[in-house]
Symmetry: C2
Subunit: 537 residues, 2 copies
């Protein structure tokens, strides 16, 4: 049998990974990698951190040596070549440097940034931040003295770029047309991200539409946001990316509405012997079972391994995605995994707890918040959000693993995590969140914001002692834990009753006792009056 020919379309991150895995699987295949730019491999995710100096410029913009790739992996790397079209029936791909026959094709063209219509044409001081060429353009502008940078688009990349530019010391305005940053996060988390960026020195403009772009010569000099005008030296466009799947679609390939290619768990497509990887593909979500386009490098790495091996005759399977993601916004870290949209779903509940990254007495201990989303009936975890100043990445990874494993709250509450004072609390916040979620079966847990929005007829009772009530007044009748426990407290047991205290601890105990004393509607406010007061800060 003649050697198999594998053609890979696209460099950057996924193409080279797929090539390496194809080579491991088949030592004799002819492997050709086509890339239109000069750099065959670079990490998109590192680019913002060059702006802050946390990644050296050299590391990010020097491409991996194509010669090395050719020697060790015996991959025929052809840079500066454009893909023109695919002919799936003939197993051919047309490029700017001629026609190639293939036995297997790996489609890895990634995603391209979208230009907001108001910007129209290119400009000297307007750039995306998706490849080393963009970075060079931005760094040149900064070194030439750009003092005010507008970042347009408040998704992951916009938040990272704004954060990193602020760390560099330039004035940054982050412009988002929607009501919140970071669409995948809860409004509460997104608001904390915005606040943290403000503390970092970023001007955050939400609900801000750019109505006009002012130009002078080849440069953009200002942006009109309705009545307001903003003078700018440099504009970074981070409004989003779109899968580069036109060539695939033109060859008869099926793409979803979002433009992505939904691959199966072998990374095949509807075109014969065509595999797909990179951030142009969707794959199965672990919770919903539906294809989801995450545009994450970690997912691209996984599809690249699978596509590379299978295109070379292997038979490996892709795991589902959880859409796990983490982003830094100033000194705050925000992470999510799984399914965190309640939407109208009444079968999914959420529980949010505050805690510390490690033993609260240990130097450097810092606060963090964990929110779990779980199915009410089975109590299986379906998603999580973690926000805080330390230890966020650890908790989200544990929770991602638990979501994939379909753990329920009981299992998660008892999960044996590593404890020692510098690293965690003996009952880690992940355990705590699960335990509190289970307690919510016994008594209703109110979120602080719900207290304000309570229905008429709700009975609010204050279980704090006299000194606490005097120090921090709150308008609600007082009742003592002792009175509730001994059944001497007088309140309407058929009503919806919510107990409050400073931290939520005594009021939780009050609610437990009240339920046991025949008041099924008893509940408490999670985090207590301290959390309620924090809402209005």
């Amino acid at each position: 049998m003649a050697n198999r020919t594998i053609v890979i379309l696209g460099g950057a991150f996924s193409g080279p990974t797929a090539a390496a895995h194809a080579r491991e699987t088949d030592a004799n295949a002819r492997i050709i990698l086509i890339e239109r730019s000069a750099a065959i491999s670079y990490a998109v995710g590192g680019l913002p951190y060059v702006l802050s100096g946390e990644v050296p410029e050299s590391a990010s913009i020097v491409p991996v040596d194509a010669a090395f790739f050719q020697r060790d992996y015996d991959v025929d790397v052809r840079t500066g070549v454009d893909v023109v079209r695919m002919d799936a029936d003939r197993h051919q791909v047309h490029t700017s440097a001629g026609v190639l026959d293939y036995d297997s094709l790996i489609y890895a063209l990634g995603a391209g940034s979208t230009m907001p219509p108001v910007f129209g044409a290119e400009a000297d001081n307007v750039s995306f931040l998706r490849n080393p060429a963009h970075l060079q353009k931005i760094m040149a502008a900064l070194k030439a003295g750009a003092r005010h940078v507008a970042v347009v688009g408040g998704g992951y990349f916009g938040v990272e770029a704004a954060d990193c530019l602020a760390r560099r010391g330039v004035r940054v305005t982050l412009i988002e047309q929607g009501p919140k940053l970071l669409a995948e996060f809860s409004p509460w988390a997104a608001a904390r991200a915005a606040q943290s960026l403000v503390e970092q020195g970023v001007e955050v403009r939400l609900n801000a539409s750019i109505t006009q772009v002012n130009r002078q010569g080849g440069r953009v000099t200002g942006l009109d946001l309705g009545a307001q005008s903003l003078d700018v030296d440099l504009v970074l466009l981070t409004t989003g990316v779109r899968p580069r799947t036109e060539i695939f679609a033109a060859a008869g390939g099926l793409v979803l509405d979002d433009g992505s290619i939904a691959v199966d768990d072998r990374c095949t497509t509807n075109l014969p012997d065509v595999y797909a990887t990179s951030i142009c593909v969707s794959h199965r979500h672990a919770v919903t079972g539906k294809p989801v386009w995450t545009a994450q490098a970690s997912d691209a790495d996984k599809t690249a391994q699978v596509a590379g091996q299978n295109a070379a005759g292997g038979d490996v399977r892709l795991g589902p995605t959880l859409g796990t993601a983490i982003v830094r916004a100033g000194n705050l870290h925000l992470a999510r995994t799984g399914s965190t949209q309640l939407g109208g779903r009444r079968d999914v509940a959420r529980v949010q707890v505050s805690g510390t990254s490690c033993d609260p007495f240990f130097r450097g201990s810092d606060s963090l918040d964990v929110t779990l989303y779980y199915e009410r009936r089975s109590e299986r975890l379906v998603g999580a959000e973690v926000v805080g100043h330390a230890g966020v990445d650890k908790r989200i990874d544990v929770l991602a693993t638990a979501v994939l494993a379909k753990m329920n709250l009981a299992r998660l509450g008892q999960l044996d995590l590593a404890y020692s004072p510098p690293y965690a609390t003996a009952r880690d916040i992940v355990n705590v969140a699960a335990v509190v979620g289970q307690q919510a079966k016994r008594v209703r847990m109110w979120q602080p914001a719900e207290l304000e929005q309570r229905a008429a007829g709700t009975v609010v009772l204050d279980v704090r002692d006299e000194a606490e009530r005097a120090a921090r007044p709150f308008e609600a009748p007082a009742v003592s834990l002792r009175e509730i426990r001994s059944n001497k407290a007088e309140f309407d047991k058929h009503a919806t009753v919510v107990f409050v205290c400073e931290t939520g601890r005594s009021s939780y105990l009050a609610a437990c006792a009240a339920v046991q004393r025949g008041c099924p509607g008893a509940g408490y406010v999670s985090g207590g009056l301290r959390a309620v007061r924090a809402l209005s800060l």
Copy 2:
């Protein structure tokens, strides 16, 4: 029905936790907590970190206010009371302050330090480090000018104490009678811990038996280690703890050989209505299914919740333990989970990989090593060890979750963990370890140390290029990847063949190609010659 009486024996950590959970479950029970010392609640794990100043002295030795516990939880706290004996038939417990009847008893007496026989009686400057009184004694000695401290026993507590004392700036000698520190860790990891402590300024003495203790008045002045003698100002004994289960056993309670009480998943014991918690209990190991005594606070917390709720009429279940643990030794962090003893088990394999805590170009990125233990046939993860300078706690917790979930290597390799340059690599080291483990199915992976110990007849081949071979000579015939792939390399394909290169990457590819070319015994050295050279540093 009269109110249930629940008697809890033991404060510290588990007793109060059990009391709180009992109260949540039954608002009306009479709950009595007996504790012999004056402090009802303190965290043993925090004590060493007071020595280094990372936990303030006040935080650790001020007991939680018993009055608060009485008010909020309505628990009758009786400190300064000794437990004398239990009468299980009569449901009574005899104490130094009289006899108590119980409906449910929670046994939570923890574990006590063991005095090495050579030390015999107490001394003014010899102390354990298990409670606030010990800490006070040690701090007083340090403040009085103790300059040389001997820490006797190289387990978790000994390593932590030595590390923290060295951080304080005193001279520390850590004495361990066995050949290595940290019995639960691999010899490789334990050696790294010792090395790291040495770098922190600790004198580490392994295989060191104390043959004589020299005294002057009420003080110990020196320790003889065979021929050598060591002058000391203060001695910390961390040789181990023993479950305090004599009273339980005397009442007919069953204890294991190690002295621990093996509870079932409701935390009951063989005595009627007697539950057990704290670090005196064993419970089921997730991998082996056998009871294991971990003496970890995180396990004690879990049994305390379950014992407390069930003793109050609840019905909750304990999750299995994994023996997850983490310890700091100088600037090194070491963690383990699950089953990490190969022993003679041929059905369990291990794979070890080196990597970085986050994107290698990102400021602060540091090295770490992950070792996975998995069943050969099912490739299910059964245990893991993680050693490194950053991100160790995250990886061990992810792996603990994966062990509990019985994930296999394929699942773990594809696990969707959170990626962004400050936190991880796009393919996290946990994924990498699983992927490399799977690769070991294709080609044999040699550990660096195995190369030295290879059997006669093993063929070693060097796949580096001429320049690399000239720069760092290694005595083995050269062969090129191209020759292997094109089947032109001349070597005995029936032999055990091991390829080497600088990093392990080219040699892995060479082994893949050789296997595909009819050499089933081909393998490579994990980490390459760089790792081999590191062995002799």
